[in-house]
């Protein structure tokens, strides 16, 4: 369960600081896959980053009483001067999996299929190699809730098929909160939905209703 209580967030910039999210109250249960929908700039990614703990809210709080992942396939979470193996070790240690560290390394090495590059510094990687590694790393741990920001679209054709399958298997056993503009993926993966609009969040038990009200808001908007 993730409790979001009176959450507000704004970014400060030179033109003032408008609220991105305002007074959001949500309870996201563990066993449900949730899709986040809304127009660009509505704060979907911001909400996901806040849930992941990569960013702090200006007001309110988020209580996670289960294991929540970092956003799947997050290639920014690598230290460029360290090798792929060292990065994987680091993340495994941070998550307290010292006993399973060899198992995790083996899994990631096999999954990412980047060969000898696994022992080269990350800064020498191509963006495809980075995202392969990042994706493998996310799937190596058992989380209660996974977070995903358009993550299923990485790598070449063969890798994509494999990644999608592995992703679905993992998500089938745990919860998922996903940000995506592809309604096919959302309808396919999710049961519930959150529609973000005008700094506020609306919870729908059915993802189709969330998408429907998103569509309705586009029609209502003055052109």
């Amino acid at each position: 369960m993730i409790h979001i209580h009176e959450l507000s967030k704004r970014y400060h910039n030179h033109h003032g600081s408008d609220w991105v999210l305002q007074d959001i109250n949500l309870e996201i249960p563990t066993g449900v896959n949730v899709g986040l929908v809304g127009p660009n700039g509505a704060g979907k990614s911001t909400l996901l980053r806040l849930i992941a703990g990569m960013d702090m809210p200006d007001r309110g709080e988020i209580i996670r009483d289960c294991r929540v992942s970092w956003p799947i396939g997050l290639a920014g979470g690598f230290q460029g001067s360290m090798t792929g193996r060292q990065n994987v070790k680091f993340v495994a240690r941070v998550h307290g999996s010292d006993q399973e560290i060899l198992k995790i390394i083996e899994f990631v090495e096999k999954f990412a299929e980047i060969g000898k590059a696994f022992d080269e510094p990350i800064k020498t990687y191509s963006s495809g190699m980075r995202s392969r590694l990042a994706f493998g790393l996310s799937l190596a741990f058992d989380f209660d809730i996974y977070l995903s920001d358009e993550a299923t679209s990485v790598g070449d054709r063969a890798f994509k098929a494999k990644a999608t399958k592995a992703f679905r298997d993992k998500v089938g056993q745990a919860g998922l909160i996903i940000v995506s503009h592809s309604e096919g993926i959302l309808c396919d993966l999710c049961q519930a939905g959150i529609f973000l609009n005008d700094c506020h969040a609306h919870w729908f038990d059915d993802i189709n209703e969330a998408i429907a009200s998103y569509h309705a808001s586009i029609k209502l908007a003055p052109t």
């Binding site: 960013d55 920014g76 360290m82 240690r93 941070v94 998550h95």
Partner: protein, 261 residues
């Protein structure tokens, strides 16, 4: 995976960061280990050479010049490395803050811990080597010397914690720190005895807590050492604790901004 207490999480983060920093620090450069020893050795050699030419007399405050110099230099390097390594600690680990378990204060604490360990190993090697060479660099009061060493370490940690935040918020701070590190070496009495400085000026130099740490360290090493009047460990610890508190407060206040930038 089961639930972990905050302390368990923090401990595993420190463990992970320590392993990462230790590998980066000792293997990043082929000569990393070499420089750790070569820098103080080169400094001692140069200073001994200069002293042989410029001035007469081999004693400072009743102590042989070479052990006096080694003691001061290593004490100063302990402080300086803690300060300098902390300055880059937050920026160098920015990518790792993507994992919410890692806080900006963690790499600073881990780096200071690691740097202290490395400098302690260097000190022990120097003591061993000078024993073999009969230079007489052996602490007469072992516990006291250890205490003074730890005090300098804590002072470095305090300055490091404070500067790590400031230098991330204002990049110029890092440059200024690099510029003042050499003058600091001179006014801290690490290689030039402050006994030779006029009394009035000494009073100002004594405002610098590093002087108190280095002179105390020497007093515990050499029982017959005549130090400056007004050397006080209390003052050093007041400075250290004040700076550590200030640094931790800055980390709390700006942790959000340090993460994002």
């Amino acid at each position: 995976m089961s639930y972990r207490t905050p302390w368990q999480v923090t401990r595993s983060v420190w463990h992970a960061l320590f392993m990462r920093e230790a590998i980066a620090r000792t293997t990043a450069d082929r000569f990393a280990w070499f420089w750790m020893l070569a820098e103080p050795i080169a400094m001692v050699t140069v200073m001994v050479a200069i002293r042989a030419v410029v001035s007469s007399g081999h004693h400072i405050g009743g102590v042989d010049f070479i052990p006096w110099l080694i003691c001061g230099l290593l004490g100063f390097y302990l402080f300086r490395e803690n300060m300098m390594r902390s300055v880059g600690a937050v920026d160098a680990n920015k990518a790792l803050f993507a994992y919410r378990q890692v806080r900006p204060v963690d790499p600073v604490l881990v780096r200071c811990y690691l740097e202290g360990l490395l400098k302690t190993i260097v000190l022990l090697l120097f003591i061993l080597a000078s024993q073999l060479m009969g230079l007489g660099l052996m602490p007469s009061d072992l516990l006291g010397a250890l205490f003074a060493w730890v005090s300098l370490w804590m002072l470095g940690l305090g300055v490091g914690l404070t500067l790590s935040v400031l230098s991330s918020l204002v990049p110029e701070v890092g440059k200024i720190v690099r510029i003042i590190s050499l003058p600091l070496l001179i006014i801290s009495g690490a290689m030039i005895p402050l006994n030779f400085v006029p009394y009035d000026l000494q009073q100002y130099l004594l405002l610098n807590p590093i002087v108190h740490g280095i002179e105390s360290l020497r007093m515990f090493f050499f029982p017959s050492y005549q130090t400056l009047s007004g050397i006080s460990m209390t003052f050093l610890w007041l400075c250290s604790l004040a700076l550590i508190s200030l640094g931790l407060m800055l980390h709390l206040r700006f942790s959000m901004r340090l993460r994002i930038q």
